[in-house]
Every structure is written in C-alpha cells, then in structure tokens.
Amino acid sequence: MELYELWKPLMREGSASFWQEFYVKFYQAFLEGSRWKQYLNGVGTTLLVTAMALALGVVLGILVAVIRTAHDQQRTGRKNPVLGLVNGVCKVYVTVIRGTPMMVQLLIMGFVIFSSSRNYTMVGALTLGINSGAYVSEIIRGGLMSLDPGQAEAGRSLGLGYVDTMRFIVIPQAFKAILPALGNEFIILLKDTSLITVIGGKEMVYAAQAIYGRTYEQMFPLIGIACIYLLLVMIFSWLQSLLERRLRQSDRR
C-alpha cells in the first residue's frame, strides 16, 4: 500500500525500476479498490454457468442419444412413426449446433431470440447447454455403438427388456468408455464460458476487461484470468483421473 503510493509517481516520471513497475501494475490489476473481488465474482459466474450448462447438456445429450439409438435399433416391421419424427428433430438439432460456430449461436440467442432479456448470464448458460448437448449426445451415441453388440444380445437373449439391458449392461460399460471424452467436453465447456462476454455475461473475461478499461494495462488482468482458467482445468483433470482410476479398479479386484 505505502509502496504503491510511493512508487506510482516514479512510474509517471519514467524512472521506476523494473520491479517497481511490476509491483505497481500488479497492484493496480488485482489489489487497488479490492479488484480481486471482481475476479472472484467472475470465477463464481464461470463455475455457475459451467454447472448449469453441463447439467442441461448432459440431460439433452442423454435424451437425444437414447432417442437416436432406440430409433436405429427398432425391430423391422415395428417402426414407430412418432419415434421417427422425434428422431428427425434430434438429427436437425445436432446438425445445426455442430454446423455453426458457438459465437454465432451466442449472438443469435442473445440479440435475436432473447433480445429483450437482461439476464445475459442465464441466456449464456442456456446457449452453452444447448450447444454442449449436441456434442454430448454424439459422445454417448459413440460409446453405445462402440460396445460389443454381443453384450446387448446376451441381455436380450436372457429375456431382459430393452430398458433393463440398457440400464444394467450397456450404459454402465459405455459410461466407463466415454468418460475421457466427456471430461474433455467439460473442459471445453468451462473455457467456452469466456465467450458469453459478447452478449454481456459477467464472467471472468468481463471482469478483466472492466479492469483494464480503467487502468489501460492489459497484461496482468489477462494473464491473471488465464492462470485461473488453467488452475480450474487442472483441478478438474485431477478429479477426473481419480474417478477413472476407481472405475478401473472395480473390474480388476
């Protein structure tokens, strides 16, 4: 504090040493006026948006994946027209979401569909969730298809129904197989929350921008949030590897 007051005039004169300048900029970026609270709020929003988008993405993803595999596995001569229609809708959804950039989806949601909403953060979470659902559904579908069809056949040949076969045999095995891809999708989602700034969502990038808008010094706020993202991703990767190790142990015992 005292040092900051002492060295700040030196910087204006251009006679501050490297370390003095470093300290002043650091102080401005993180400490002055309790700015670290702004980052913390940003982190909170980032995590909240990630959690909501993840929940929505997983629910949508499972729904779409189940509909699409159920449709593909129907007995011939027993095709259900309603399922056919719903399957068509799911296909369009996945194609549109995967075929357009995240940024454009956000802009359309924020400025066209929900242009009257002021709750930018929620609109952002909704958009990310819808986006993530398309990718999650493809990951799950891939996991279901990669499983040896003999597993489902064995279940069905014992007289178990489609639902029981999925629940006890297919899904537990598919889940283990797709966990790495799912973790990857989660990491992408976490980082993509930074994009909601373009529609006014108040997450970490927003906080950094607000701060360097006042101090005219971009390096510290940007490197700062980069470090926070990195830390969050590292913590998550570590948790994921713990889970994977536990799942692997269960079939070795």
């Binding site: 007995r75 011939t76 001569g77 027993r78 040896d148 003999g150 597993q151 056949e153 064995a154 279940g155 069905r156 040949s157 014992l158 007289g159 178990l160 129904g161 029981d164 006890f168 045999i169 537990p172 095995q173 283990k176 269960s250 079939d251 070795r252 015992r253």
Partner: protein, 240 residues
C-alpha cells in the same frame, strides 16, 4: 417344440437363408454342421429372433413368435442362448451375471436366484468363482458360466452357437462335458458346432447346411457313415 416354416433371411440383397422348414422336437439334440458362411449362425439366431426373418414363420410352444405383436422378451425367457464369445457382462460379478435376468424378469427373488446360482455353479464345479469378475476367468470357465447363466432362467430349449470355437484346445473338453451332461438330463438342444465328435456322440439328429439351405439331415450314423450329398461328402472329407 420349435416349428420353422419357409424361413428366409436376407441382409440387403444377400439372401443368407433360403426357405428353410424344420422342426425341433422336445428332447432333441439337434446338431447343425456346415462350412463357414453357410448361414448356421443366422438360422440359430432366427430361432429366438435375434435375427428378424425376412419371410416365414417360427412357432414356439404353440405360439407364432414371428408375429410382431408377440412380446419377444417373454418368449426368450424360455430359450437359453450360448454364444461363441461367451458375452459375459464384464461389469458384474459371476453371481450377478447369473442372477440378473431371473431377478429382473420377476422369475425369482434375489435369494432364490442366489440359491439357484450356487446350485448350478457347483454342478459345473465353479462355486468358488461366484464373486469373481469375468476377466479373471479362463475361456473354458467363462463358457461354463455362460451356460449356467442361460440355465438359470429354466429354459425349455438351449441354443448353442459354436460354444467351443473361441477356446484353446485344452479347454474344449470341459465345456463339451457340461453340454453332454445337460443332454443326458434331457434338455432340448440346438447346437451349431465344428466338433464332429460331439455331433456323433451327443446328437440325435444332424443337419448339414450349405448356402442357406439344409442339404441333408439324418442320424449321426447316416450323416457320418453314409453321406449322400456330394457337398456333405466333400465337407466331411475336409473336417474329419
């Protein structure tokens, strides 16, 4: 017990089964032999509708099961199936593998199913493996478990698709012994196999399939001792 009438099956425009009619009687030990790609597996898998016939009807226990309105899960509970690659569920213990279907389909309570599993496991000499996982077992052990798993549903007929083809030679015997015992107990069995010794010893009827048709059928003595069809003679000269 199983009546097959004019059964045909095509994959795309490749016709694999060509107008097959056949009857499986109670207590039959029907053995199906034939060259690779002749449609043996497809025929066997059609019997419990793992393959959907393109044409024809299959009647099981007086019920036309090829009718789309039939609840196929209920029918399959009475037909056990054993696969070439065992298809045990790797995410469950052996006990769970065996008891899952009887419990979930409401046939038994968990306690009853556990008893049944223990009883069947001791019959095949694998009681001590109840709490193991499938990938801790040898191929022969896995296949014996797979047979037990199917038997736990108290099926009326057992379908076997090359149950010993994926096994190391020294493990074939233990699986065939279990199948033979099952046959001696009077189980109705349909067996696709390349084990000609088993066909001769256990089978009461042998079917020779080639190119989607049953070309010759008879007792083991007729088929192996006095084959008529030149294709069968040729096939036997290669495998015996």
């Amino acid at each position: 017990m199983i009546d097959v009438k004019h059964l045909s099956k095509s994959f795309g425009d490749h016709q694999v089964l060509k107008d097959i009619s056949e009857h499986v009687y109670p207590g039959d030990k029907m053995v199906i032999i034939g060259p690779s790609g002749s449609g043996k597996s497809t025929f066997l898998r059609s019997l419990n509708l793992l393959e959907e016939p393109t044409a024809g009807t299959i009647t099981f226990d007086g019920e036309v099961i090829t009718d789309p309105k039939v609840d196929i899960d209920r029918v399959r509970r009475k037909m056990g199936m054993v696969f070439q690659h065992f298809n045990l569920f790797p995410n469950m213990t052996i006990r769970k593998n065996i008891t899952l279907a009887p419990v979930r389909t409401g046939l038994m309570t968990q306690a009853e199913a556990d008893d049944k599993a223990a009883q069947l496991l001791s019959r095949v000499g694998l009681v001590e493996k109840a709490d193991a996982y499938p990938n801790q077992l040898s191929g022969g052990q896995k296949q014996r478990i797979a047979i037990v798993r199917a038997l736990a549903m108290n099926p009326k007929v057992m379908l076997f698709d090359e149950p010993t083809s994926a096994l190391d030679p020294e493990m074939v015997g233990e699986v065939l012994a279990v199948m033979k015992e099952l046959a001696d107990d009077g189980m109705t069995m349909v067996v696709v196999t390349h084990e000609m010794g088993f066909a001769r010893e256990v089978g009461n009827r042998v079917l020779f399939m080639d190119e989607g048709k049953i070309l010759e059928e008879g007792s083991p003595a007729q088929i192996f001792g006095n084959p008529q069809n030149p294709r069968l003679q040729d096939f036997l000269s290669k495998v015996l």
